[in-house]
């Protein structure tokens, strides 16, 4: 563990320090502006750092990654617009808190939770990283199939009051997820002869339209010319009740665990981590009905979960050379460009650099506590002072720029617009939108995994259940499905 001391010394020099502070602030901004996302920012900035000290480049990655995961919470709470895909679950309770006048409290909870999730994850990376990498390898196609099914089962809890509409919405997501070239047979599905549909619909494009456009349209409906006055905006500091902070601790621990577990699985990602930890918080709470109506624990769970995914997602890339998401893939390319080979030998090749990167993941999480709160209240909350007539076009321009930059195709703007109009009307008839996104993420994962698993088992479906991890996940799925029903039966008996 000696090399961590050397690594710390290397990180606490001017270049890496400035890179971390600057990048964390930048990350919060990128996360908070709908449409802009960390992957894009890192992909654009990382090549500029190839000629610099690798610790500067990696410090920048760490800062943007951690900062943006928290930043996404800010518009989720203030405007019900998720800044990043991973902050959808934050809107569930964050925005109701704002409506109750508790925006400042929600932002504080989000800030602390993000930092705690990030710190827990970085510590996991530094201490048990190589061990967790072994766990990663236990997950084959059969296990991935069950993870996807488990994730979809949690939709059941998110559908709200009308399960039929929830299932409809999830089915829509599953259908959208099947579009494009099927990677197992090479067949094009639902592309209608359009070459731009061969790659399917981009998740972020659909997400920005579906989630950001309806609140913007609602804002436009109000045709507000004044905006909030400075006095009305003054975020009231609602004091925490005694013992309230202590009551977050179980949520923080649980959500950190979930975030780390999802993080080490390549391909799963922070989006799922936030949903699953929100779901777990709601399922284990005594006051389930208060979730979705402004329960700070909902915000804490979602934000801890999505930040706890970050450092953990670096475990497979550093220990095995297998990137779990695009940010990890960019880190991999930065290491390769600097002549390093991610994989089992990486620690021996350059312990100071690897240890330093882990330190940077930790330090930037801590920085969120100091920088995040001030940025949210001093800067972003001020946007609400803009009258609607200015706020609406500004957000829409940002959305368009962000969506256009992803693939550089004008057609994506139409996809976003169509998704937004669909989302607007779906909300009017109370169809929940979250299951659409979950369906889009989990549907392809479930389908491809189950087909691969069956190819490997030569078509024998019993292999899906006879392996220890897949069997455990199958049982967990059943429990998640039965739990709410059992609870409501018990409740009706008691009544």
């Amino acid at each position: 563990m000696d090399f961590y001391i050397d690594a710390l010394a290397a990180v606490l020099t001017l270049g890496p320090l400035l890179a971390m502070i600057g990048a964390t602030i930048l990350g919060v901004f990128i996360g908070a502006l709908p449409g802009l996302n960390p992957v894009m920012a890192i992909a654009l900035l990382l090549p500029l750092t190839y000629s610099m000290d690798p610790l500067v480049a990696l410090g920048m990655v760490a800062g943007i990654y951690n900062g943006s995961m928290y930043g996404g919470a800010i518009p989720s709470i203030l405007l019900r617009i998720p800044g990043t895909p991973a902050s959808i679950a934050t809107t569930f309770d964050g925005f109701p808190m704002t409506e109750k006048g508790e925006a400042s409290k929600a932002l504080k909870v989000a800030c602390w939770s993000s930092a705690i999730g990030g710190i827990a994850s970085a510590i996991a990376l530094m201490t048990v990283g190589p061990l967790l990498a072994k766990v990663t390898l236990l997950f084959g196609p059969a296990e991935y199939f069950w993870i996807a099914v488990f994730g979809m089962a949690s939709v059941g809890v998110m559908v709200g009051s009308d399960p039929v509409k929830g299932v409809m919405s999830a089915t829509l997501g599953l259908l959208i997820g099947t579009m494009g070239i099927d990677s197992l047979s090479g067949q094009a599905r639902f592309t209608f002869g359009q070459t731009w549909l061969l790659g399917g619909l981009d998740l972020i494009v659909v997400l920005v339209g579906l989630y950001a456009l309806p609140p913007v349209l609602q804002l436009a409906e109000k045709s507000d010319f004044k905006g909030l006055s400075a006095a009305a905006l003054k975020l009231q500091a609602i004091p925490f009740k005694s013992g309230e902070i202590r009551s977050f601790i179980p949520t923080w621990i649980r959500s950190s665990g979930i975030g780390i577990a999802v993080g080490i699985l390549p391909g799963a990602g922070g989006n799922i981590a936030a949903f699953l930890s929100y779901n777990a918080a709601k399922n284990t709470a005594r006051d389930q009905d208060s979730f979705g109506k402004g329960n700070p624990k909902g915000v804490a769970a979602a934000e801890t979960g999505n930040n706890a995914d970050n450092a953990a997602s670096m475990i497979p890339v550093l220990a095995l050379g297998i990137p779990g998401n695009v940010v990890a893939a960019l880190v991999l390319s930065a290491l390769v460009i600097h002549g390093l080979q991610p994989g089992p030998q990486l620690f021996h090749q350059n312990p100071v650099l690897v240890g330093g990167f882990m330190m940077e993941m930790l330090l930037t999480s801590i920085l969120i506590i100091f920088l995040g709160g001030a940025l949210a209240t001093r800067v972003f909350a001020q946007f609400q002072r803009l009258p609607g007539v200015l706020l609406v076009p500004s957000i829409m321009i940002l959305m368009c720029v962000g969506v256009y930059v992803i693939n550089g195709r004008p057609i994506d703007l139409w996809v976003m617009f169509a998704a937004g109009v669909a989302g607007y009307f779906l909300e009017k008839v109370n169809v929940p939108l979250a299951p659409i996104i979950l369906g889009m993420i989990l549907g392809p994962m479930a389908e491809q995994s189950v087909r691969r698993a069956l190819l490997i088992s030569r078509g024998d479906p019993s292999e899906l259940l006879t392996r220890p991890i897949s069997a455990t996940l199958a049982i967990a799925t059943l429990l998640v499905l039965i739990w709410p029903i059992a609870k409501s039966i018990r409740k009706s008996r008691a009544a």
């Binding site: 990677s183 095995l320 297998i322 490997i456």
Partner: protein, 316 residues
């Protein structure tokens, strides 16, 4: 007066619109890569772009457009303007293999070949406890156990699968192909023991060969590969004609000015042979290989025709 101003403006516009090859490039170049960030094609192209930026005196913006074995990026790129400011850094498969199995909108004629940059072989690897870890023994073991072993590949009908099947066909081997999303996913499932054999690029599996967890009995090039000392090239196994390589090239859209092509090809040739770049390629098991202009077009056509035969025989 007004008329002459208009005329002057028109003349100025005309001058601006004519591509002045001597001054090319005058602004930044966009380089489309039909693969995700962090992969072999991506890192090779990004590293090369750094050297090219210096040589051309202009910045190069990288655009990763991945999906469907590279056909999404190729399809998007073919619509770019042939002004020399949109270039395409690809590996051979999207151009020569993918069109055999996918109904793509482009053909070889949709692009202007500029120069190839580097090449490498694919490899087949097993865990160190596999019954046979030398080239000949490995093929015998597979032939003796039809349908027993699974091998991971980069996607259905991809170059990697065709490379393996060419070898398997000639030895009468029946192994079960499991398509994954890319070499990284293949590696994950190979290391976890979910598939028996890794099939994919050398660079991805190299760290695990050095760590002793993986052994590679075979490479798909005729010659042996210095980065993998234990692996047999196909010539040593008497199948030199079954060689399938992974190689990388830079292309432009259809109708690119031949002078720009010649200028870029020369700059690329120098950049690829830069000692820094050669050393970088070596760490990934790749070697420089520059074929320029029309010769590159011929190479693409030959490979396309050869693979068309294999995939027909496979019934893909």
């Amino acid at each position: 007066m007004k008329f002459s101003t208009t005329l002057a403006c028109l003349a100025a516009t005309a001058v601006l619109a004519t591509p002045a090859v001597a001054e090319y490039p005058e602004r930044s170049i966009e380089l489309t890569i039909p693969a995700g960030a962090g992969g072999g094609t991506d890192t090779s192209a990004r590293k090369l772009a750094i050297i090219l930026e210096e040589a051309l005196g202009q910045s190069i913006a990288i655009l990763n457009v991945s999906g469907s074995g590279g056909s999404v990026g190729a399809t998007q790129f073919m619509q770019a303007k042939p002004d020399g400011y949109s270039l395409f850094a690809t590996w051979n498969s999207p151009l020569t293999t993918v069109p055999q199995v996918q109904n793509v909108a482009y053909s070889l004629d949709s692009f202007t070949p500029i120069a190839s940059t580097s090449e490498t072989a694919y490899t087949l690897c097993v865990k160190s406890d596999f019954p046979a870890t030398d080239g000949a023994g490995f093929l015998e073991e597979l032939a003796a156990n039809p349908g027993k072993y699974t091998y991971a590949n980069d996607g259905i009908g991809g170059t990697m699968q065709l490379a393996a099947e060419r070898i398997f066909q000639s030895k009468g081997i029946d192994a079960v192909a499991i398509p994954f999303g890319g070499a990284k996913e293949s590696l994950q499932n190979f290391l976890g023991g979910h598939v028996d054999i890794y099939g994919g690029s050398i660079s991805t599996v190299l760290p695990h060969v050095e760590a002793g967890t993986a052994v590679c009995p075979i490479v798909t090039s005729a010659a042996d590969v210095p980065a993998l000392p234990g692996a047999s090239g196909l010539a040593a196994l008497g199948m030199a004609d079954k060689e399938t390589l992974l190689w990388r090239a830079i292309l432009g859209p259809k109708g690119l000015d031949p002078e720009i092509v010649a200028k870029l090809a020369d700059v690329i040739e120098v950049a690829v042979n830069n000692p820094d770049y050669v050393a970088f390629l070596a760490t990934k098991g790749e070697v420089p290989n520059v074929v320029k202009g029309d010769a590159l077009g011929q190479r693409l056509q030959n490979e396309f025709d050869g693979l068309a035969e294999v995939s027909k025989a496979l019934g893909l």
